[in-house]
């Protein structure tokens, strides 16, 4: 499957103008996507006066004061820690809940199975911003307003449909023979799920967990609605207050943004192949 296109084009020589056009398009996209972000990252190394004078794209000398301010002045480390706790908590919870639901749906015939799949697929397209009033009030009603647990529960629900569908596709791709043998040997449902299926599902489960980690790390709206006190703020919520907190310290603010952006990029670069495979596996199965 992969590498197919190299064979496809053998015996065919691409004219030079086409090659140039291809790279021109790629260069155009690279600039359109990365210039604004790159500009901000570079500006984080400038001084305030240098940014305001808009004189050059690159810093005159690379100073790290912005990064020092970002880490010491506004409690960024605390916000990053909050984000980390919430994202890890939500990833674990959603993977456990979604696996426990996706496995039987992928493997067994029971009443309501197709209804569950259809319902959860519909959940994928519910426009969540439409639900901000009830979500906020439910969290308040169960006494979880301004708690990380409340946000973790909400995230687990929001990302449940996508996790369920990806994991279902994954379980469908696993061979059934080992499970059948285990059933013959008299293993019960939980033994099969925990001792046999879970250890075999490392790739699928970790893909979903990484994706949910990145999604929840980046989520802003519900974090803003649920977490009101400063000491529980996630990094994304904190961004909202950066402008007033950093007051006219632009390098500090840009450095803080750079740090917040770096975490998911780091996660992605390390685990790239796995994430790409996970995304495409899910999409092909619908």
């Amino acid at each position: 499957m992969s590498g197919a296109l190299i064979e496809r084009t053998s015996g065919y020589h691409r004219p030079i103008w086409l090659t140039i056009s291809y790279y021109a398009v790629l260069a155009w996209f690279t600039v359109a996507m990365l210039f604004p972000i790159g500009w901000l990252v570079l500006a984080a190394f400038k001084t305030n006066a240098e940014i305001l004078s808009a004189s050059s794209y690159f810093p005159i000398d690379w100073n790290l004061e912005g990064f020092e301010d970002a880490l010491t002045e506004v409690g960024l480390l605390g916000y990053l820690m909050n984000s980390f706790i919430v994202s890890v908590g939500a990833s674990v919870l959603v993977v456990v809940a979604a696996s426990m639901a996706a496995y039987p749906v992928a493997r067994f015939r029971f009443r309501g199975r197709d209804t569950i799949t259809i319902l959860l697929s519909l959940g994928l397209v519910i426009p969540l911003t439409a639900l901000i009033v009830p979500e906020t009030l439910i969290i308040r009603a169960i006494g979880l307003h301004d708690t990380r647990i409340g946000l973790i529960l909400l995230y687990s629900s929001i990302f449940l449909p996508i996790s369920f569908l990806l994991l279902r596709a994954f379980f469908l791709s696993l061979p059934v023979s080992i499970e059948e043998a285990a059933i013959m040997d008299g293993a019960n449902y939980w033994q099969i799920l925990i001792r046999i299926v879970a250890p075999l599902s490392g790739p699928g489960i970790s893909t979903v967990a990484i994706m949910i980690f990145v999604f929840t790390w980046n989520e802003f709206l519900f974090a803003t609605l649920i977490l009101s006190s400063e000491e529980r703020r996630t990094a994304q919520v904190a961004i909202r207050f950066f402008q007033s907190q950093f007051d006219f310290n632009l390098p500090g603010m840009f450095a803080a943004i750079t740090i917040v952006m770096l975490v998911p990029i780091f996660v992605f670069i390390i685990l790239q192949e796995r994430v790409v495979r996970g995304l495409t596996a899910g999409s092909v199965k619908g």
Binding site: R14, P15, L18, Y22, V25, L26, F29, A32, M33, L34, P36, I37, W39, L40, I51, L52, A54, V96, A97, A98, M100, A101, F108, F110, I116, L120, G123, V125, P127, T129, A130, L131, I132, V133, P134, E135, I138, S157, I158, P161, F164, Y189, L193, W217, N218, E219, F220, L221, Q236, I239, I257, V260, M261, V267, V276, L279, T280, S283, V284, G286
Partner: protein, 289 residues
């Protein structure tokens, strides 16, 4: 054999179904019902379709509808085609294609809230990169306060995500990789160049996946929020007010019934868009086991 498993299976489904029911199904029916109520912090009062009538009569709501429509049009007519363009080119496995694939995906994993600050700086009237570039290439007279001028604000915001095609690019590239080689070999024998192959072979075969991307992008457009909230807040003079921004405004002003009526518009538009796209692209005629 399966009979003895039945209880365990239902137990196993329980956590997911409980989360789903509490935080997705129940809120959904809540907004459906309460969009017919006057709902403020003080209490609920049934008022029929008055929330809807007031919305359609207000000055802000039509702007929100119009801006959302422009937003969706940009997503469907520009964003997804750009993703197809990049995916088709990268699928030709040019030198360095893997690096470009990674580069193009990176903006998709940066949060919209961080990007909001990136673009606040990028568009800034005084020190922003865009005006700096314009000055450097001698177009000073084009300089303006991009995010806070009525005429440019909405388009400036759309530009912030228009080229971030990484996710759809990857989905489409995966689909291209599944097209059998024989089809292309025949075309090459007939002397068809790459552009002809892409137009007459690849594109038609991507119908399903393009439709899927369109559905995803419309849903995304309808709920996009933080990039507006953290930059223009819907202004100037509602120039960037979208349905989701309007929902948040109503929520913040404790007009919960109104917020939910706007929310219902988002839901209905989303469902309509999905049905239309499924129809147009005849999605589901191949997959879905």
């Amino acid at each position: 054999m399966q009979k003895s498993f039945r209880f365990a299976i239902y137990l196993s489904l329980l956590p997911a179904l409980a989360l789903f029911a509490t935080f997705l199904v129940f809120p959904f029916f809540t907004i459906l019902v309460t969009s017919f109520f006057e709902w403020r912090a003080s209490g609920l009062r049934f008022i029929g379709v008055e929330n809807y009538l007031e919305l359609w009569d207000s000055r802000a709501f039509p702007s929100a509808l119009r801006n959302t429509a422009i937003w969706i049009a940009a997503a469907v007519l520009l964003h997804v085609p750009l993703a197809v363009l990049v995916a088709v080119i990268l699928s030709r496995r040019l030198k360095g294609w893997k690096i470009f694939r990674t580069l193009f995906f990176l903006p998709n994993i940066v949060s919209y809230s961080a990007l909001a600050i990136v673009f606040l700086g990028f568009y800034n009237a005084r020190y922003g990169a865009l005006n700096q570039v314009l000055a450097d290439i001698g177009l000073e007279h084009w300089q303006r306060d991009w995010l806070f001028s009525y005429d440019t604000a909405l388009y400036a915001l759309i530009f912030t995500w228009l080229f971030h095609v990484g996710l759809y690019m990857i989905i489409i590239m995966a689909e291209i990789a599944t097209i059998p080689d024989e089809i292309y070999e025949a075309a090459v024998m007939d002397g068809a160049g790459e552009i002809k192959q892409d137009l007459y072979i690849t594109l038609p075969l991507l119908r399903n996946v393009i439709g899927t991307c369109m559905i995803l992008t419309v849903t995304q457009s309808l709920i996009y929020f933080e990039g507006i909230f953290l930059t223009t807040g819907g202004g100037p003079a509602n120039a960037t007010l979208t349905l989701s921004m309007a929902t948040y405004r109503a929520f913040e002003n404790f007009h919960w019934g109104e917020a939910n009526a706007i929310g219902m518009h988002i839901v209905i538009l989303g469902v309509a868009a999905i049905l239309i796209i499924r129809r147009l692209f005849r999605i589901g005629e191949r997959y879905f086991d």
